[in-house]
Each structure stands twice: as structure tokens, then as C-alpha cells.
């Protein structure tokens, strides 16, 4: 019970830390925030009178000390009020919901392709160790881990869109638009997961009961599908959860390279146009999602395995 409380306290502290870091960055970001807000309120109106700017400063407490502003902002966030985009004047929440779908679609498609490929590759590698299949899987996974995804994206565009003319290169919309981006992201997923799955499957093969099964005359194929496979699933899934940050980063690079719409493009666009409410919300969303998901995975693991209770104190 006490450890649970400490963990919860830790989570709370980290969440507060996230808001603090986010706010600090936006607080010190260059540019007059009052002017940005004014431009959003009165579009097309370039000569904004100083009285109006002063009014906005008072309304948004922009001249108040750091701590005051932070608490004010945090209170809004806690009430679920994330503000309104400076540039489009839509609520940040709406922008987020509108673009979430594209990113989720891209990520899930890539995840499905990448995992399936990784699974096939590592299964073949483990079933036929020290053959060209095994070596090939290792080589592909080390290339994939080192491959700059934006470069792979350009190569795919060059080969498939420019030369063959099969698929559209840039943009969002049809199913065709999804293929190249998700292939790019899937390649990276495949590379990193093949490595892990292969290791886990080899470890599963190393367990003593496998030898017993062989001695009892159970065919290799059945040993593999019944025992080795099952043992390799759970740890691989956990790793995917932990690597979510990299997955998200990959999705953002891919979105930007292929000029797709989605959260990554929104983030980049709003960062460049200094649309602070959008930037702050997105950054906070990514960080919070990461922390919460990892805490949940952690908690589930600990519930499943009481042996971990002692280790938790040191990690």
C-alpha cells in the first residue's frame, strides 16, 4: 500500500513536472504573445493600437510574474480549457481531435505491417539458425535500425512515385496515400522488433523443457508453434509499449516528409507560426500519454508478477 502511494505521488510529481517544463519553454519563447493574440482576434487588422494590446496583457495576465501565470494556466488546463489557437481561432481541443485520426491510422497501419514482417522474419531466422535466412534477418534489422526514415521516404518516393508512377507521393486522403508512409514507418518497426523477437524466441528455445519435448518425439513444428511462439509474445508486446515514444517520433517525421496531415504536421506548423496554445497542448499530450501508458504497463507487470515487487524499489 505504501509503495502504491509513493508510486502515485511520483506519477503526480512527474505530471506537474511536465506542465512546468512545457510552461517554462512557452514563457521564455521569443515574440510578443499579446500581439499574437491580437492578430488572432482581429484578423487582417495590422495596426493594432497599444491600448488594445495593453487590454490583452491585462486580460491574459501577461505581465504577471512567472509563478502567477503558471498557476493561472494550470488551473485552466485542469478545468479542461486548453485555449484557442492563435491562428485559426478554433479551440485547441477541436484541432487535436480533427488530426488525431490521421496519425492513429498511420501508426496502426505501420504497426500492423511492421509487426507482421518482424514476426515472419524472426520466426524464419529462429527456425533455421545459422542459415542465410538467419543472417539476412540480422543484417536487415541492423540496416533498419540505422536507416534515416526521411531518407528511406525519399528513396521510396523516387522509386515508386517518380519512376514507376504507381502511388501518389505527397498528401493525405486515399488509401494510396497511406501506403508509402506506412511502409517507411513499418520498416523501422520491423527492424527494431525483429531484433527483439529473435532474441526472445532464442531464449524460449533455451528453456529446459524444450529438450524434454524433443525427447518425447514432438515434431519441431509443433514445439515452435505451441511453445516458442507463445513465450515470445508477451515480452515483445511490453517492449512495443515502452518504445512508443520512438514510434511517435517516427510518425511525425514520416508525416512531415510526406506532407501528410496529422498531429506531427500540426505541431510543426504551429511551432513555426508560434501558435503557443496548440504547441503547448500537443507537447503536453505526448508527454502525458507517454508517462501514463508506461505507468499502466508498469502496474500491470507488477500485478502479474509478485517477484518484481522487490526489484521495483531499485529501479
Amino acid at each position: 500500500m505504501k509503495t502504491l502511494l509513493i508510486r502515485f505521488g511520483g506519477l503526480l510529481a512527474v505530471l506537474i513536472g511536465i506542465t512546468l517544463i512545457t510552461f517554462t519553454i512557452s514563457y521564455f519563447a521569443p515574440g510578443d504573445k499579446a500581439e499574437a493574440i491580437a492578430h488572432a482576434r482581429y484578423p487582417g487588422d495590422f495596426g493594432i493600437p497599444t491600448e488594445v494590446l495593453q487590454g490583452i496583457r491585462e486580460e491574459f495576465n501577461l505581465d504577471a510574474p512567472f509563478v502567477h501565470q503558471y498557476i493561472h494556466w494550470l488551473a485552466d488546463v485542469l478545468r479542461g480549457d486548453f485555449g484557442v489557437s492563435y491562428s485559426s481561432r478554433t479551440p485547441v481541443w477541436v484541432i487535436f481531435v480533427d488530426n488525431l485520426g490521421e496519425t492513429v491510422t498511420l501508426t496502426l497501419t505501420s504497426l500492423a505491417i511492421g509487426l507482421a514482417a518482424a514476426f515472419l522474419l524472426s520466426a524464419v531466422a529462429v527456425r533455421y539458425p545459422n542459415t542465410i535466412w538467419d543472417r539476412g534477418a540480422v543484417v536487415i534489422s541492423s540496416i533498419g535500425a540505422a536507416m534515416p526514415s526521411y531518407w528511406l521516404a525519399l528513396l521510396l518516393i523516387l522509386g515508386v512515385s517518380v519512376h514507376l508512377g504507381w502511388l501518389p507521393a505527397y498528401g493525405t486522403g486515399t488509401f494510396g496515400h497511406l501506403i508509402l508512409p506506412s511502409t517507411t514507418l513499418a520498416f523501422w518497426i520491423m527492424a527494431s522488433q525483429t531484433r527483439l523477437m529473435r532474441t526472445f524466441m532464442l531464449e524460449a528455445y533455451d528453456q529446459p523443457f524444450i529438450e524434454t519435448l524433443r525427447l518425447r518425439g514432438i515434431p519441431e513444428r509443433e514445439i515452435f508453434s505451441r511453445h516458442v511462439l507463445r513465450h515470445s509474445f508477451v515480452p515483445a508486446l511490453t517492449m512495443i509499449g515502452l518504445d512508443m515514444a520512438s514510434l511517435l517520433e517516427g510518425a511525425i517525421i514520416v508525416e512531415l516528409t510526406f506532407s501528410r496531415s496529422g498531429l506531427g504536421s500540426v505541431l510543426a506548423g504551429s511551432v513555426l507560426s508560434r501558435d503557443l496554445p496548440v504547441v503547448m497542448f500537443l507537447v503536453m499530450f505526448f508527454a502525458t500519454a507517454y508517462v501514463v501508458i508506461n505507468s499502466v504497463i508498469d502496474a500491470v507487470q507488477h500485478l502479474c508478477d509478485p517477484r518484481n515487487l522487490n526489484k521495483a524499489k531499485t529501479s
Binding site: A13, I18, I25, S142
Partner: protein
């Protein structure tokens, strides 16, 4: 050493494999570095010298990797770009290494309350995915080399802090540290003689990983326009130059990408080898 003794123990057994490997790597790095400076000295071209009569030329004897849209020699630019892409990421990841290790050891040594506080701060920073933090920071404060370096440094130290802390906590309970304490060694001496030599190998493996990731981040952010700006010959920035001429002159984007891929792969494989040696030892 007498003849009989040198026969009784095989020679390889007496050499610490980690130290041996580190020495080899250091030699290779030195060789590469001198080769690089030699090439910089030998190349007849300047990285920024435009030649509009010779634009978008494919690879040839005069221009080994061709020329770009301004007629600049790509091979020369790749050489100079190594300084940006590899050198800058080296500096960033080394900073992360040193700062993170310090923070981690400090947390492990500062008692439960200090540990809790330091590690929750680390967790807070860790929550921001590297690239998202870098895009946000570099974007808000204006894309520039300085802001890119600051952004990437801010997100480079947490993994080291976590690992260094875990390793230190584990080692703190070990018998040889107790012995050193009983023998009256000061905390600083214990840190230097007993703790650091034992936690450094694992941190070095993490560092190779961090360096290669930083190379990908630096060139990726430059490619996306958030990092080092053209006309600097950073590999990612060169890729961005090449993107527009993909159809007519694909070599402009092929070579910088290949350079990133190869550099990252070599560093990764070196790290893997080091880790295997470590595992083989214990």
C-alpha cells in the same frame, strides 16, 4: 616473465578484452580522423564554392559524388558535413553522457528523499519524446544550430541518469565497496576507483547508442528545417537541398543519406560488439 609461466597461461587470457577493444577502437578513430583531415586538405574544392556552369553534374572523375544545384562538389561537402553531423552529435551525446552520469550517481548517493526528487525531475524530462522536444524548442526559439544543440542536449541526459543510478544502486550494496569503506577510503576515492570503472562499460554502450540516435536527430531535424540551416554542409541539410532535384539529379540526395546510414550503422555495430564483450566476461 619466464618461459614456463608464459606457457602455463594463454596470453589472451591476461589481456582485459574490454580494454583491448577500447584501445583498438581508439586507434581506428585516430586513423579515420587523420584520413579525414588529409582528405579535407587534399580536396581541390571549397564546400561553399558555387559553380553555375557545372550544376547537377552526375558523379565523375572530377566530382566523385557529382555536384549539387549550385555546382558545389558533393564529396567535399560530405567531408565537411561529417564535422557537423558526426562532430556536433558527438559533442551533444558526450554532454548528455557526462551530465546524466553525474545526475544518476548523485541521485543514488543522496538518500531516499533526494533520490526521489532528482529522479522525478529526470522522469519529467524523459516524458518528452526527444524529437518532439527538439522540434518545439528549436521551432519556438528560431531554427538555428545553437538552438538545435540546446534542444538536443536538454533531452540527451536522462537515459544516462537512469542507467547510472540503477548501476550505482546495485553496486552500492556490493561487498567490495563495503571492503573499501572499511579500509577507510573516502567517498570520492571509492567513486573514482570502484564505482566509475564498473559502471562505465555499460554507460559507454548506451553512449554509442545515444551518439547514433543523435546523428539521426541532428540530420533529421536539419532535413525538416528545424536544425542546421543551408548553406551549411550538414548531411540532413544537404538532403533537403537534394529533395527538390530528386527527379533530375537523384545523386544529390542519395549520397548524404548513405553517409548517415553508414555512420549510424558503424557506431551501432561497434556498440553491439562492446556489449557482447561485456556479456562474455561475466
Amino acid at each position: 616473465m619466464s618461459l614456463s609461466q608464459s606457457f602455463s597461461i594463454s596470453k589472451g587470457q591476461l589481456v582485459d578484452p574490454l580494454r583491448h577493444f577500447t584501445r583498438q577502437i581508439a586507434l581506428v578513430c585516430l586513423a579515420l580522423l587523420s584520413l579525414w583531415s588529409l582528405a579535407l586538405w587534399l580536396t581541390p574544392y571549397e564546400p561553399a564554392a558555387a559553380d553555375f556552369l557545372d550544376r547537377l553534374a552526375p558523379p565523375s572523375a572530377a566530382h566523385w559524388a557529382g555536384t549539387d544545384h549550385l555546382g558545389r562538389d558533393i564529396a567535399t561537402r560530405l567531408l565537411y558535413g561529417a564535422g557537423w553531423s558526426l562532430g556536433l552529435s558527438l559533442a551533444i551525446s558526450l554532454t548528455g553522457f557526462v551530465v546524466g552520469t553525474f545526475v544518476g550517481i548523485f541521485a543514488a548517493r543522496s538518500g531516499p528523499a533526494g533520490d526521489f526528487a532528482v529522479m522525478r525531475v529526470t522522469d519529467s524530462f524523459f516524458a518528452f519524446p526527444e524529437l518532439i522536444a527538439a522540434v518545439t524548442f528549436a521551432g519556438l526559439f528560431g531554427p538555428s544550430t545553437t538552438n538545435l544543440v540546446i534542444a538536443l542536449m536538454m533531452v540527451s541526459w536522462m537515459k544516462f541518469a537512469r542507467l547510472a543510478r540503477a548501476l550505482t544502486v546495485n553496486l552500492g550494496e556490493s561487498d567490495f565497496i563495503t571492503q573499501a569503506r572499511l579500509n577507510g577510503l573516502s567517498s570520492l576515492l571509492i567513486l573514482w576507483r570502484h564505482l566509475l570503472p564498473n559502471i562505465l562499460p555499460s554507460l559507454l554502450v548506451l553512449w554509442t547508442n545515444s551518439w547514433s540516435r543523435t546523428i539521426l536527430s541532428v540530420s533529421g531535424l536539419s532535413f525538416l528545417g528545424f536544425g542546421i540551416q543551408p548553406p551549411s554542409a550538414e548531411w540532413g541539410a544537404m538532403l533537403l537541398d537534394g529533395k527538390a532535384y530528386m527527379q533530375t539529379a537523384p545523386h544529390i540526395m542519395i549520397f548524404p543519406g548513405l553517409a548517415v546510414l553508414l555512420a549510424v550503422m558503424v557506431i551501432n555495430l561497434t556498440g553491439d560488439r562492446f556489449r557482447d564483450l561485456m556479456a562474455g566476461k561475466t
